[in-house]
């Protein structure tokens, strides 16, 4: 609840691109974890695009994707790249600069 003034102070929406590959277990975890983080801390103040690189291969090249799953935060502030299934919530929040 403390993050609502933060959102107010920072009207820019969080934009994420999550790269997954098909229906792999880790990809599933990543989607789940990201959703729960967003639902808990961002409350609709975000845009999430999920790209499945097995179907959209060119994106993997364009975004320099090596590892799956990869989450790219394009804004606000510094773009960040996160590898892994986002299971370490604290770390994710810290890196994404989201105050819990």
């Amino acid at each position: 609840m403390e993050n609502s003034p933060k959102i107010a102070a920072n009207p820019e929406k969080y934009t994420f691109i999550l790269f997954v590959s098909g229906m792999s277990v880790k990809s599933g975890h990543a989607i789940e974890n990201l959703r729960s983080i967003c639902d808990t801390y961002l409350k609709g103040n975000f845009n999430l695009q999920i790209i499945d690189i097995t179907t959209d291969r060119q994106s993997a090249v364009d975004y320099q994707i090596i590892a799956i799953p990869t989450l790219i935060k394009t804004g606000p502030g510094q773009p960040r790249t996160l590898l892994g299934d986002l299971s370490d919530t604290e770390k994710v929040l810290r890196i994404l600069d989201i105050k819990s």
Binding site: R57, A60, G84, D85, V92
Partner: protein
């Protein structure tokens, strides 16, 4: 570790397989590398459809070798390729190899090559849990499929280790990558930085690769030599030595040490030495075409001059000649030779002669060898002159020089090129041959030595043939002089104690003239005496003749008287008888 042993077993099984159907001449499927010389050492190329590791320190040519493999694959064997670079952006890469004549952009446009730059920047990446490298696989797969590639290069996977933290994941994933590449059936090259105790930093790639090649860049006595060695090659025989290789404007070329068999064709055609008089010292009247000639001698014994004479002679006969001068510039050589009446410039203008002058230390022995090799390919000379080979010793140690010369001689022989080397001897009293001489003396076919003959206050030059394979030769030490007309071999002057040179020759000649004059006058005197004796004899004969004639005459008179007498007798007596 457990995984590794498991893997090892697998390969053990696979290793046996190819050797089974040996009776039907099984040949291991290979992919030609397109790198000059490397196919020879690997007996056909890299293992087809399998990963090969190329490892080595910084700047030893890993990227270049793999790039050449890809590009030659496209241009020479129409196998398309994928280059996945982890270190250099694709733009830089294109620029870097452009200087070697590889046009990546063109190949990319023709859809024959894909260059994918994989950027792994540690500072931009955070790890938050489990992941795999599926992204890399998919990108690679995408690249391979888009050009139907048969050859893949990954340069250098290690960057991943630098960029990512989770070593366990990386190792497992890389192992998977190697298997995946094999399944995909692409011939892959993986490059790796050399580690301290292991071939690669991670000590992983060398076990999962089917062929491991190590590149090395060593500096010995300020001269660097690049070397290549095949450490392993599953399922195939390969050369095990360290082979020097070179990087020049045409990319990489590997030089196998020697052709192991000596089965070059020989010619019995003769070529003139160009030095008047020297030809006659050989029974055949010159050198065999395609043979090697060594001219050794101390400083200032006209080795270069003899070499130039030979070059001149060959050019006159429209034989293409290459002259490697390690001591003089072409201009200096031309000027010096003009002073004794040899015009080399004329031949250069006609395109028959090429003079390559460089300091031996300009580059390593191998590069010298390569220059020569290139020239042989492009210029196709029939005669090669190296002046002097002894200078090369400043570049390498004894073994290197010897091995280089063996290869050089092999190469020349294989091309049926007549080669003349000069070698400078140290001025020493004993006649022990020194290094350069020693290294090649057993390899060369003809060995001519020029030397100083110091006598009473003067120095003379002598030339003699030490050996001449397959041809009789003179055993004499011939004196020669160099005047404005060039080299002149003087006739042999025998003295009471052997062959004479210089002043001794002159005094001997004088003595001989005096002797001859004396002999002549003696002869004349004898002739006159005989003449006189003849005259006496003739007078005696005449006297005897006269005497004889008078006796004959007397006898005639007696006979006539007798005849007359009997006639008268007959005239007086027969009448009674008739009755």
């Amino acid at each position: 570790m457990f995984n590794y042993f498991h893997k090892k077993n697998q390969t053990g099984v696979r290793k046996i397989k190819p050797s089974k159907p040996q009776d039907e001449k099984f040949s291991f499927p290979k992919t030609p590398t397109g790198v000059e010389g490397l196919d020879e050492i690997t007996d056909g190329g890299f293992p087809k459809g399998r990963p090969t590791l190329i490892c080595g320190g910084a700047g030893c040519g890993k990227t270049l070798l793999s790039m050449q493999f890809l590009i030659k694959g496209i241009t020479d064997f129409s196998e398309h390729g994928v280059f996945m670079s982890f270190e250099e952006p694709s733009k830089d890469l294109s620029l870097n190899v452009k200087s070697l004549g590889f046009d990546l952009d063109k190949l990319k446009a023709e859809k024959k090559l894909v260059v994918d730059y994989v950027r792994v920047e540690r500072s931009e990446i955070e790890e938050t849990g489990e992941y795999d490298l599926e992204g890399l696989f998919i990108r690679l797969n995408h690249a391979i499929d888009s050009v139907n590639a048969k050859r893949v290069v990954l340069d250098t996977i290690e960057s991943l280790f630098a960029g990512l933290d989770n070593q366990a994941i990386l190792r497992a994933e890389l192992r998977r990558l190697f298997h995946w590449l094999k399944e995909k059936g692409v011939t892959a090259i993986i490059t790796g930085e050399r580690g301290e105790a292991t071939l690669t930093r991670q000590g992983l790639e060398e076990y999962v690769s089917d062929c491991v090649i190590i590149l090395d860049h060593r500096v010995i006595e300020q001269v660097s030599t690049r070397r290549l060695r095949i450490i392993k090659y599953r399922g195939s025989t390969h050369g095990t030595n360290e082979y020097p290789f070179l990087i020049d404007e045409d990319g990489i070329s590997v030089l196998p040490i020697t052709s192991l068999k000596l089965n070059n064709e020989v010619s019995s055609e003769l070529v003139s030495t160009g030095v008047p008089g020297l030809d006659t010292m050989f029974v055949g009247g010159g050198f065999y075409r395609g043979s090697n000639i060594l001219i050794s001698g101390t400083a200032g014994t006209a080795k270069t001059t003899i070499a130039c004479y030979f070059a001149n002679e060959q050019c006159k006969k429209h034989e293409k000649t290459v002259f490697f001068a390690f001591e003089e510039s072409p201009q200096q050589l031309i000027r010096n030779m003009k002073s004794i009446g040899i015009d080399l410039e004329k031949h250069i203008d006609k395109g028959l002669l090429q003079i390559h002058a460089s300091r031996p230390s300009l580059n390593g022995l191998e590069l010298h060898l390569l220059t020569l090799r290139k020239l042989i390919k492009d210029f196709k000379p029939t005669t090669v002159i190296l002046d002097p080979i002894s200078n090369l010793i400043t570049v390498g140690n004894e073994n290197e020089v010897r091995s280089m010369l063996v290869r050089l001689i092999d190469m020349l022989k294989a091309n049926n090129i007549t080669a003349l080397f000069t070698s400078l001897n140290k001025q020493n009293d004993n006649l022990r041959p020194d290094l350069a001489e020693e290294s090649v003396s057993s390899l060369v076919d003809t060995w001519i030595t020029v030397r100083d003959m110091e006598g009473i206050g003067e120095r003379n030059r002598g030339i003699f043939i030490v050996k001449s394979r397959g041809m009789g030769h003179s055993n004499q030490v011939r004196e020669f002089v160099i005047g404005s007309k060039g080299i002149e071999l003087l006739d042999v002057e025998f003295g009471p104690e052997g062959i004479l040179t210089g002043a001794a020759r002159k005094s001997n000649q004088l003595q001989r003239t005096v002797k001859a004059m004396k002999l002549q006058s003696d002869l004349d005197r004898k002739d006159r005496e005989i003449d006189r004796k003849r005259k006496v004899l003739e007078a005696n004969i005449a006297a005897l003749k006269n005497e004889f004639e008078s006796v004959v005459e007397e006898l005639g008179i007696l006979k006539a008287t007798e005849d007359l007498h009997s006639k008268i007798m007959i005239e007086n007596t027969p009448k009674t008888k008739k009755k």
